[in-house]
């Protein structure tokens, strides 16, 4: 509430005419006092936000430090720093669980995520081009249907989809997780690309068409390069969503050597939570690292993508 107040103050200060009009009757000392007050407000602003940042990021910092705590300290030492730091947890985690080494879970997660990125970007771009740049009969109905699936709870289709993939004999393979990505089932990405494609000037297609280019050429050589930033946003998000996905692999993957990281973590959580907190927490941290890495590298990209398109994490 005080924000809008300050926003107008700074707005007035940046337009000299306005500031002069207001401060003239008061006399020369007034501007200095205002500057001083503003400095104080800025300091309070910084301190408040730093405190909030500390609270928000504390669970992650706690996780990082906990990976160096020996098992005996869990439940005993709720603080940040380990009393007797050790890297035993990392050594244990590297061995894996249920007879499967850690790198295998990592590799499975990576295969699923890369396939999700390729499938999502390709199929969503094709669908988005049709919705945004082609005037075909039925466009309105199908576009509305696509928006509808944006709001559809995924859980309504998990049972029939499971029965279907079970009938095809595809349970305990990656196909039930990969195939839907190649069929643009994540409406969010289609919608995001439609928004981008609609912003491209229409004369561009007209000119290309006069030169004899068909839709395939326009799509591939003109539109795709133009919406590259949006494609990258889609790629990053589909990677992270696939990396974090729990329900899909939980339903379809049954043998431990096929598990991606989240399901492997469940093994730690279910079987050893009372005895081996250290390994559980350390494996959790390792599973987060790629996402956190993506975030640090592409943060501006991700956050701006969210800001302009309303994409949720």
């Amino acid at each position: 509430m005080s924000t809008s107040n300050q926003a107008t103050t700074s707005g007035a200060a940046s337009t000299p005419v306005f500031a002069a009009q207001q401060t003239m009757p008061v006399g020369p000392p007034a501007p200095r006092r205002r500057v001083k007050r503003k400095t104080w407000q800025t300091v309070i602003w910084f301190v408040a936000l730093l405190l909030l940042t500390a609270v928000v990021l504390y669970p992650l910092v706690w996780l990082l430090f906990s990976t160096f705590k020996p098992n005996s300290e869990f439940g005993q030492n709720p603080g940040l720093l380990p009393n007797a730091p050790t890297i035993d947890n990392y050594i244990k985690v590297a061995d894996g669980i249920a007879g499967v080494p850690m790198w295998r879970f990592f590799l499975n997660s990576l295969i699923l995520a890369v396939a999700a990125v390729v499938g999502t970007v390709l199929s969503s771009a094709l669908a988005a081009y049709a919705f945004a740049r082609v005037q075909f009969k039925g466009l309105g109905i199908f576009f509305a249907a696509m928006i509808g699936t944006l709001l559809l709870p995924f859980h309504v289709v998990i049972i029939p989809q499971y029965i279907m993939f079970n009938n095809f004999g595809l349970v305990d393979t990656f196909w039930p997780l990969i195939l839907p990505k190649f069929l643009a089932t994540e409406a969010f990405f289609v919608f995001l690309l439609v928004q981008f494609l609609r912003q491209m000037p229409r004369d561009m297609d007209e000119a290309a068409r006069i030169d004899g280019a068909g839709h395939v050429r326009i799509f591939w050589s003109i539109m795709l390069p133009l919406i590259k930033p949006a494609l990258i946003t889609c790629a990053i998000f589909s990677f992270i969503w696939s990396w974090n996905d729990f329900l899909g692999p939980l339903l379809y993957l049954t043998s431990p050597e096929n598990y991606p990281l989240p399901i492997a973590l469940r093994l730690y959580n279910d079987q050893t939570s009372t005895s081996d907190y250290g390994a559980t927490v350390t494996a959790s941290f390792i599973a987060l690292l790629p996402v956190l890495g993506f975030f640090l590298v592409f943060q501006r990209f991700l956050v701006d993508g969210v800001a302009t398109q309303g994409l949720k994490g």
């Binding site: 924000t3 809008s4 926003a7 107008t8 707005g11 007035a12 800025t42 602003w45 940042t53 669970p59 706690w62 869990f74 709720p78 390709l122 199929s123 669908a127 049709a130 005037q135 075909f136 466009l139 309105g140 199908f142 696509m146 699936t149 709001l151 709870p153 995924f154 859980h155 309504v156 289709v157 998990i158 029939p160 499971y162 029965i163 069929l183 839709h215 974090n244 729990f246 329900l247 939980l250 973590l265 959580n269 279910d270 907190y277 559980t280 959790s284 941290f285 599973a287 996402v291 956190l292 975030f295 943060q299 501006r300 991700l302 956050v303 969210v306 800001a307 302009t308 949720k312 994490g313």
Partner: protein, 330 residues
């Protein structure tokens, strides 16, 4: 630089309007135009093939099949047996677990989402005060949204809110001795709601983008009219932001209904303690995949769908009275 309050137009759906505008050229009937139209239609459906296969094969047909299954008894090994409305009758009259599951899910959704939105809006307004330095905080607050639904974070939450965990010991040290939240039926739902609120960042980023679009002149005009900070918030910020609030509320409510991994991990798949994390999605999963009652689980899924649809409908119906769309033609 004039203050244009007339720009606020109460009705009008941008999307629909642009569709109408775009489809107008189709009505022309010059010779050759029709052949071109056929070619366009062919091209359109050609590009749509993957989406159409997914839409019908993985969404529409499965939905119809799941509606059929919800009227049957089915365990995947024997063919489905038609039992009429029995599943639905059992759900609402003879299944206390379902009633509890529906109650805690509704509490989680209807308490957690507004708190998340309020926190997101509050922090967004704080960040909007200054541009310099705000980028860092914006990114820092956004990070939890990317990972909040993951198994890793759920494991962290279990440790943070467990007995003798950091939250327990911090509260104990100031004299509030609650014990562990995760094992306490009264406190595990609050711990889940805190986890939801922790992920306010994505919503905040969208609010912040919305706040940047509010014309400064509106605030200046309101201030000249003698409006105090609260009045300016009520009369300028909230109405100008209402489309963004609508968007965040709709997606927030629908997303909250679908929380699964956190509840599963925090309760070790049991939905406990005392069923207090047995969210509707977890209950559906347990019935369908642990107990093999696919027909019954399909009925739960359809109840979920109907509830989500009703909430979406209420929001869309009431938006005319509280959502203001700016009428600029950009």
């Amino acid at each position: 630089m004039s203050t244009t309050t007339t720009r606020v137009i109460v009705t009008g759906d941008k999307r629909r309007r642009s569709l109408v505008r775009r489809s107008r050229p189709e009505n022309l009937t010059r010779p050759g135009q029709r052949r071109r139209q056929t070619r366009e239609t062919l091209a359109g459906y050609g590009f749509l093939v993957p989406w159409l296969v997914g839409f019908f094969g993985l969404t529409i047909i499965p939905m119809i099949y799941s509606l059929y299954l919800s009227f049957t008894r089915y365990n995947i090994f024997q063919p489905p047996k038609w039992i009429g409305f029995d599943n639905y009758i059992r759900l609402f009259t003879n299944d206390p677990q379902f009633i509890q599951s529906a109650q805690i899910t509704l509490i989680y959704v209807l308490v957690g989402t507004p708190i998340t939105l309020a926190a997101a809006l509050g922090v967004a307004m704080l960040l909007n005060y200054r541009d310099k330095g705000a980028g860092f905080f914006r990114s820092a607050f956004y990070a939890p949204s990317l990972i909040g639904g993951s198994v890793s974070v759920a494991i962290v939450w279990r440790a943070m809110f467990g007995s003798n965990g950091p939250v327990d010991s911090a509260l104990s040290s100031i004299g509030i001795d609650l014990g562990g939240w995760i094992g306490n039926p009264a406190l595990v739902l609050p711990a889940m709601i805190v986890l939801a609120v922790w992920q306010f960042g994505a919503t905040m980023v969208i609010f912040l983008a919305g706040l940047k679009q509010v014309p400064k002149e509106l605030y200046e005009a309101a201030e000249m009219d003698g409006a105090n900070a609260w009045h300016r918030f009520r009369a300028v910020t909230l109405p100008m932001l209402s489309p963004v609030i609508f968007f965040n509320l709709l997606l927030g409510l629908i997303g909250a209904f679908q929380v699964f991994a956190s509840a599963y991990i925090i309760s070790n798949g049991s939905g406990g303690p005392a069923g207090m994390t047995n969210f509707i999605t977890l209950y559906l999963y347990k019935r369908g995949f642990a107990d093999g009652q696919m027909g019954y689980a399909a009925a739960i899924a359809w109840v979920l769908l109907v509830v989500v649809a009703i909430i979406a409908l209420i929001l869309f119906r009431t938006q005319r009275s509280w959502v203001h769309y700016a009428g600029d033609n950009r």
